[in-house]
Every structure is written in C-alpha cells, then in structure tokens.
Symmetry: D2
Subunit: 284 residues, 4 copies
C-alpha cells in the first residue's frame, strides 16, 4: 500500500490536530496512523500522520505545497513529507563482528525491512562471502591512520554513487570524521555496546565487568560529533551474573545489540523517529 | 486539572478524526491525549480523546448531547463521556493474602491512584488492622456454602450504600454469582495467578510446576460469567527455574500479581480500557 | 580446553557431593563447574560436574568404569559421562521460514556454538544459497502425504551417514513420525511459536490474537510423540498491544523464537539439560 | 528448619570442594545448597554451603573452630559461619516517600522476610501511623544541618540499644557520615534511583529525562564512603517513552526501586551476598 507520512513540529496551540485532520479529510485521505506529542517544557507540538495515497485526491507532488499553504504557515510548522516509496537506500558499515550485520541481512531477506541495501562497506574482508550470498555488493576498504582520509573519500564517493539515504554502523570500529557525519545529519545510526550514558567510549563490557553491574545493555543512537552522545533511538538490556566473564558479557551483549540496532533501523525506516535537540520522539 | 474523556466506537470510515477534533476545537478544547484504533476485521473505529475542561466553552452537562448531535449520530457512534471528577469509587474484595491489597493501599496512600476506596470487604478478619491504619473501613463478611447467598446480598447492599463504581478482586478466593457480576459488567477486575489462557482455574502454580514451565505469569481481566475467560486487561511474567518449589513459585508470582493488578486498576481509572467482544483495547 | 562433564541422578542421601568431589580430587581433577539439585517430591538427587581433562590422572576411557566402581554403584547412580570433544554433530531441519535457521548459522559462524553442522535438511529449496554460503551442505527433500514415508527414510539415512547426534527443528513445518522420534529420544529440539501450554498446535499466533493476550511467547522443547507436550527447555516472551495485527504478532514472535531456540541449543550442547519425567533440570 | 551457612574465600586450588563436603559429611551434614565461584583474575575461590543443623553431629558452637582446624587453615581460608536463627535484626531508615518502606513491611507481614524489624527511623513524622499498624515502633528524629551530629548519635544509640545487625535505607534522603558507615561495613543497603553507574547523585530521574534514555533503573548497593559507588547487589530496569514526564519517570521508577531493594534485602538475609573488592558475588 502506498502511504504518505507527515512529520510536524510547531509551537503548541489549540486546533492543530483539527486542522491537520481536516486537511487530510478534505482531500479524501484515509488516515492509517496518527500520533502526537506535546513537550510542555519546550512549548512544542509534534505530530506524525500516515495515510493512504491511492485514494488521496492531491497529486503526490502537490501535497507539500498545499499543506504549507493551508495549514503549515498558519501554525509556523516545520514539517517533512515522506512516502513509503521508493524504498530508502541504506548502506551498512561493518568491521569484523558479524552479529549485527547478519541480523539485518536476515530480516531484510525475510521481508521485514522496507529498504534497499545497495552495499556493505567493511575495513575487513572476512564477511564478503555471506554478504554476497544475500545478493548484496561488498566493498572492502581497508583503513589505517595514514589512509583514513582517502578511505573516507572513497566511502563518500560510494555513498553518492549509490544514492545512499542513511548509514548504519553495524559494529563499525572506526570513528567517522566530522565531515562525513555532516553529510548525514541524524542519518547515521550507530550501535553502542553499553547502556548509555553508562560506559561511554571503548571497551564498555570491560568497564561493566569492573563496576560489577548486574545488567548490561546496548544503545542505538544517531551519530553526532561528540562520541556516543547523540540522540538515543532505542535501548535494551540483559541480566548478567558475577560469574560471567568478560567474554560472556560480550556474547550476552551481542544478542542485545543486534535486537536494538534492528529496532532502531525499523523505527527510522517507518519515519517514526523525530530528533529534537539531543533526544528523540519515537512515534507509534 | 479537570479533564473530559471521550471514548468512541463506530463503523470505520473517513473523516472521523477530523470531525471529532473539529468539534473539540470549535468549543476551545485543548486536547491533552488522543489515540485511535481501527480493527480491520470488525471494520470498526475506536478512539479516546481527553481535553481540558476549564477552558472548554461547553458546560459539562451539555457536552454529551451536543457531541451526539454534531458528530455522533452522523457516524453511528456509541460513545461514553467521562470526567476525572468526582473520583470513581472502588471496593476491594480480599481473602487472606495481603500482597495485592497492600500494594493498592500503598499506591493510594502515595497519591498514585485517583480513586476513593470507601471500603474493603473480606471473608476473613486478619487484614483489618492494616486496612484501618490507612483510614479505610473494613467489612468482615464470612462466607460458607450455606451463607453465600446472604453474604452476597450483604455485599451488594454495601456496594449500593457506598455508591461503588467498580470492584477489584485482590486475590478474593470466592467465586461471585452471575447475579453479582451482572451488577458490574466490565466493572469487576480480577487478578488470576497464571498467564492465561494457560492454567485456568484453581491452583495454577501447582499446574505450572507440574508442566515444568520456565516462566510464570499473572493476568488481570474483567470478570464474566465464564471463569477466568473475561477480557484480558494486563499480563506480566517472571522467570523461574527447575529448583523453585511450588512455595517459591507462589512468592515469585505474587510480585507479578500485584504489579499486574495495580496496572489494570490504573488503566481502568484513566478510562484507557475499552472492552470489545472478549478483548480489550488499551489506549495510551 | 578439554573438559569432562558428568551428569548424575540417584536417590537422595547424604554424602553424594563429598564422594563425587573426592573422586575427582583423588585423580587430580580441577573442578570447573558444579551444580546439583534435589527434587524432594521424587526423593532424587541430580548433579552436574565439569572438570579439566588435561591434568586429570585417569585416561579418558577409564573414567566411566572407575567412577561406577568407586562411587556410582554405591549410590545406585545413573550417570552419563560426556566430553566437549569431538564436537557434537547437529542436523537442522527447516521449511521456508529463515529466521531461526539464520540465527543459528550466524552464531555458529561467530564461534558461539561448539557444534558441527554437517547438513541442513529442508522440504523447500529456497534457503539453499545462504546455507551454502556458510559452507554447509543443503539437502532439499520435498514431502507430500504420499512421499512422507520415503522422505523420512531418506532423512534417517542422511542422519546415519552423517553420524548426527541431535536434530534441531528450526520451524520445520512437518510432523515427525513416532519412528523417527524414537531414533533421537530427548535429542530432537523443536521451537513452538507459543508460550506453552497455551496455544498448543497449529496457528498459535492466530489463537493468541483471538484471545487478546497482552504477551506472546515461544517455547523450545524436546520432541515426544505427543504434539507440543515434550519437556520444556526454554521459554521467552514479548509484549504485544491490541493494535498489533496477526502479521505483526508473527514478526514480534519470530524474534522471540530465534532467541529461545538458540538458547536451548546452547544448553543442550553444554550438557546442561537433564530431562526428568516430562520436565527438565537446566544446570548452570 | 535450622540451617548453618558457611561462606568461604581462599586462594584457588584443587580439592577445596572435596574437603569442604567431606567435612560436612563426616559430621552427618545434610547439604541443602552449595554454590561456588572462581575469580580467575584474582585467583580466588568463593563458596557458600548450607546444611541442616538438627542432624549435624557437631555442636553449633564447635563448628567454626573444628572447620578452621580441619579445613580452613590448610587452604588459608577466610570464612564466616552463619545460622538462620536467631533472626537478624534490621533497622529501616526512611524519609517521606513510602513505597519502599511499605513494600518491605508488606513482605514482612506476609512472612517473606526472615528478619526482625525492631524499629523504623525517619526524619519526618508522616509514616508513623502505618508503621505502627504493622506493630513496629517508629522513631521520628528530625535532622537539620545544625542537629545532624546529634541526630546521628541518637540513631547510633538506637541501633545499639536494639542490637541492630544491618540497616536499610528505604529512600532515606540524608547522607550518612563516614563514622556511621564504619559501624556497619557492608551492612547498610541503599536504594539508588538510577541504573548505576549512570546518573550518580541527586535527581537521577531529571538527568535521565534530560539525556532522553529509553530505559530507567534502580540499584541496591552497600553503602561506602564514596556516594553511590559501593558494591552493587541488585539492579532492575523499566522501559519509558518520550512522552513520559519527570513525574511519570518517578512513578515508574518507584515500582522498580521497591522490587530491587526487597530483592537485595532477601539476598542479604539469606547470606547469599559476598562483597569482594567493590563488587558482589550473589550465590544461588
């Protein structure tokens, strides 16, 4: 089913829901999902609405302008209009660890993710065979401190050539440059292997072991220039015990990582994530 | 804050959200919460909307009639209009086990439950002292097979005298008669100590132990004439291990029971539960 | 590290732990793990002990006889002695759904499962390419009601030729014959897509949807002749809401299924599962 | 049933389990529970064993000396011998918030906690009536910055007069002095309302709200001089959403706090907690 999805933010006031739904109704829109949120501290109103496009009486290309004119301007709205077609194009960056990558590929194979995956990029060659068995091109771009700038230029070229909409770091163990990040604002999803804000940075499972926590976690977030500090999209945890070694924490944690990252990708694809300041609204 | 809450069901068609929100807006309603649900099998639309009453330009007593006239009739709606005042009046029925009762009393004490509790009814005397320390009258109504009819008549008299809106069975180990139930359709909440539909009936922890399940649970549901078969409001589970005795299952399970029952009460109080056929929509 | 693992059951009495640990100590055994369980209803004692083999002063082939003579006979023990080498040999049976299979293959690839997978058997051809990319032979054995007996004979031949120790049904949608099951007593692991004993049989997600449960689950169990009634190894659940369609329940449930099945395989491989009557002890 | 419980730590070497279990067996000990743990980094062995005392052939007062002589000295053990009688004596400190206190009192009432509670101490008077309805003396000791030293002296006097074994801070909003803490090393249990090490210090729910986490938590730990940095006994979490206000985080979190604190008390009472450096082993 072809869908349009509208994401709105504006100063809070009365009548917004009424005007938005009236607009959709006046063009025969069959509303499929609607969710809204008021942030009382910010005095801001947020809304997401999805409707069937086939029976809508406005042309796809007219909708944004007409909505701006009839509703948006009146409420000083910032809004984005999305469609669930063509499918977004997602690049996956990965290093050696396979668990997040395979989880994504498995879901994609099973038809759970409405996305095209034009390529997987890795600084190691080992995952090539399985990726290609899933019918996805694999690009091995080794990185050393000397070649890093050139490697990123190469990566960015691939992103452009493949018209990539957003990037998923599926346990990619290289830190992206500020320049790379600026090409994809709130469009790079990283999985960090701790329950942020606990255990920022390298070796969080070691830090968790040292502190003797009884629960470990993982966090999917949009990448910003400050390491592990971007808007959190999703988190999950798992229980551990004193006898678990660091290697066992890693293994238990990997099960959490892959679930969290795949959920974050799904929310992003469904246009359910709205970053605000350094947080996210996740619409249902 | 004084709130009005509207719960709607009607055949699904376009424009319902638009008309409902237009109605609220036209009388200066500041919408606080709105959630809707379409059941595609039934072809039915369900909606809950809450708005501030103080700034609303219709009188409290006019709202229902005006809504029916302007919106309800047009969409063949069944709807209920609630207000968050005066507080609903809840009776608690309990036998000997204290955990659910104390959890409810503790939450009520802490201001978490917007409800009046005019009385606790028990077929045993043991919980009297604590209940009264919370400032709530305690009625001991013993029940034997001979006195059951008279006891229920006594209970019903107390319900009427205290203008009880709904009843909570907080591990009340007597089966209510069909007649009693008919006084409170979808207004008696029971906690069953299993993950329904597994282990219907008596001694579910024994049955769970026998089957060797690895997870036990509890279910809060509206009471209907068929035992343990009414619409489920909430469920939760806890992990158990082979070495847990039945007594330990009981203790682990009690922690689940009290959380589930209190959540169900909260949903009910917030007018977030809509029973449909033998299921429930739980609005957010 | 080479390990020996001893699994014991016997009538409960004093001194068992002392004698078992004395035996291990007397031959220089370095105990790595030990767990025991007393079933007071049955009056039975259960124990699992694992120790390093390299420093043990008995030859691998002598241990069982010596243990029987020095300890086992005295306490009327039934015991099994396992080693963590050579790796057990596991066959995977699958139909069309990929999620459990891919999860197992991914874990095997990542070195999480100490097992050899000589083959995957399927009644459909679609998963061949990915399975083979993981370096595992794929056998397509179509099944119709006419060919079922011949197909099972074919399967059993493959099991024998590949010296298969145990079989995993990773959403294999055919019912195995009693004869097949008898070849692998407590050595066929099935994943059932409900929280047993709720929703036995076909289409459990449909049944869960009908009943309006708030939580769904999955159960890994050993296969016995009675459908979905064998000893439960592991269970897990996930929360659902009224708006989830059956298709969404299926998708949410698949995430639970794959985790539960992989955990059950891991427990089985680590010799941590002891079936007793129709339940399991899961040693830590 | 009268039980003895032995908690052991010593440098790891072979034969410890054998010697300990032989000791118990040689005096007719019926072992009820045994668990051990090897910390390979520290090279240390930890063990907990519980056995029936009635059938044990050593007198209660002889056990420690005999164990030291026959086993402990040989392995350079540090060990503690506990009995499950007389019941330990627990003081509860609380401020205004009732949820943790009521949860403990409810469990104690229901017979879940094998402990005597000679008194509740509070710097506010409001919880007096309910505490006394449970038959427990309530001491109101107001605290200001001027009276703090005197108040603590008063509290310590009460601890001594009531022969208090350990103290539970059930949301007690005063910081204890180093001197007070030194009277109860690893015998003061605090509940911190965050998932440590995230959000140390005051107002963790505000901090969680600011960071936009999707899960909040609570941590029970032994109190050390460094704030919120002592050995963690238990943790638990709950899921939150972007629309939850800080007040809702508080309420959701309180349900977690009370469960975590009560679990930690139970582990402590059952002598299942062994603090090591700044972590805990939790025996099963």
């Amino acid at each position: 089913m072809k869908k349009a999805i509208l994401i709105i933010q504006c100063p809070d006031q009365k009548g917004i829901v009424a005007q938005v739904s009236k607009f959709l109704y006046s063009y025969e829109g069959n509303i499929l999902e609607v969710d809204q949120h008021v942030d009382e501290n910010l005095g801001m109103f947020f809304m997401r609405a999805a409707w069937e496009l086939d029976s809508f009486s406005l042309e796809k290309d007219e909708i944004a302008a007409r909505f701006k004119e009839e509703v948006g301007d009146r409420f000083q709205m910032e809004f984005k209009l999305h469609f669930n077609f063509p499918k977004p194009r997602m690049a996956i960056f990965v290093s050696k660890l396979s668990h997040c990558l395979f989880d994504i590929l498995g879901r994609h194979y099973a038809g759970q993710l409405e996305v095209d995956i034009p390529l997987v990029v890795s600084n190691h060659p080992n995952l090539k065979q399985v990726v290609e068995a899933f019918g996805i091109p694999f690009h091995h771009i080794p990185i050393t401190s000397e070649t890093k700038a050139a490697a990123e230029a190469n990566q960015l070229g691939l992103m452009k050539a493949n018209q990539i909409d957003f990037v998923v770091l599926a346990r990619y163990m290289q830190i992206l440059s500020a320049e790379f990040i600026q090409h994809f604002p709130n469009r790079i999803i990283n999985i960090h292997h701790s329950f942020l804000p606990a255990f920022v940075g390298a070796k969080p499972y070691h830090a968790a072991f040292e502190r003797g926590v009884k629960i470990i976690g993982a966090t999917a977030h949009y990448v910003t220039e400050e390491l592990d500090a971007g808007p959190i999209i999703e988190q999950e945890v798992a229980r551990v015990r004193h006898h678990n070694t660091i290697a066992e924490l890693v293994q238990i944690g990997q099960d959490v990582e892959k679930v969290v990252l795949s959920k974050a990708i799904k929310y992003h694809l469904d246009r359910k994530v709205m970053p605000i300041n350094n947080k996210t609204v996740i619409f249902y």
